[in-house]
Amino acid sequence: MAHPVSFWPTCLAMLAVTFGSRLTGLLVRMRLPSYWLRFLHFVPIAVFAALITPSLEGSRGEGGIRFAAAGLAGVVAWRTRHLALTIAVGLAAFWLLRLVY
């Protein structure tokens, strides 16, 4: 895979926007309009979902087993809300299904 040429500028800009967000809330005394409070509530939901779907299928023609393993991981996440367990089950299912098919 290509090495990211622009790593350091990107890293420093990520630091700036992250620290900036964290500091703004602690320094500024203001009340956000309710529309933007609700917008912020939905941001992680929408972004996480948007990060999942384009990388779900993969590029090795294993879409079927990846969907199945992700489905199982989704059930584990729903029942347990446990991050590490969800990832472990998802990967284990993926590897097992790969062996079978």
Binding site: T10, Y35, V47, G74
Partner: protein, 207 residues
């Protein structure tokens, strides 16, 4: 705090392995954990790095993912009295987990907040280092399907957030939109587009 450390450690490990797989060096992998210290943004950044996405889109995605910290800061600043210097340190180390613990069962004093934050920072960074060292020696990680960790990790982050029907609706719309956009648009644009429009839709639906 213990369950939080146990939740953070495997995530840092997965992040570091993904980062090494994406072509980042050990120093670069560690730098993101030390300087940015935001799990989901770090994982999404290395995922985008590995797809050759430009820096601007990565920074915008980071901003979108971390702008929620404005809310945590406003809430924390109201319940915990802090000096200006304490606010600077507290802001640098602020995370979802530290905020949650401090507001939910905390002593609501700055030392408590700082203790929660620093312990999470240490666990996150030590585990990153372990993962970065291990991740470099995994033979042919692509054949192992390590890239599959990426969608599964975000699935594990997403599902606990889905409490109401409208949350599920927003996730479905954003997910389908990103999947369709990714067929025509490069890299980070689908994530940004679907992320912003999904959140706008959610805010509009709950008006």
């Amino acid at each position: 705090m213990m369950p939080l450390w146990l939740g953070v450690a495997p995530f840092a490990l997965a992040y570091a392995v993904l980062a090494r797989n994406a072509g980042l060096s050990i120093v670069e992998t560690q730098a993101l954990s030390l300087l940015v210290f935001a799990g989901s943004a770090q994982v999404s950044a290395v995922g985008l790095f590995s797809r050759g996405v430009g820096g601007l889109e990565i920074v915008l995605t980071t901003f979108l993912l971390n702008v929620r910290h404005v809310l945590y800061g406003m809430s924390l600043g109201r319940v915990v009295p802090m000096t200006r210097r304490e606010r600077l340190i507290g802001a640098y180390l602020l995370t979802d987990e530290a905020y949650g613990v401090s507001v939910a069962r905390g002593a609501r004093s700055f030392p408590f907040v700082l203790g929660a934050e620093v312990s999470l920072f240490l666990v996150w960074n030590v585990t990153t280092l372990v993962g970065a060292l291990v991740g470099g020696v995994i033979p042919d990680p692509e054949r192992l399907g390590v890239d599959f960790v990426f969608p599964v990790a975000f699935l594990a982050l997403l599902v606990p957030l889905l409490r109401l029907k409208v949350d599920v609706a927003v996730a479905l719309v954003a997910g389908v939109a990103a999947w369709l956009l990714a067929k025509w648009l490069p890299g980070g644009v689908p994530v940004l587009g679907a992320g912003v429009s999904g959140a706008l839709l959610g805010a509009w639906l709950t008006r």
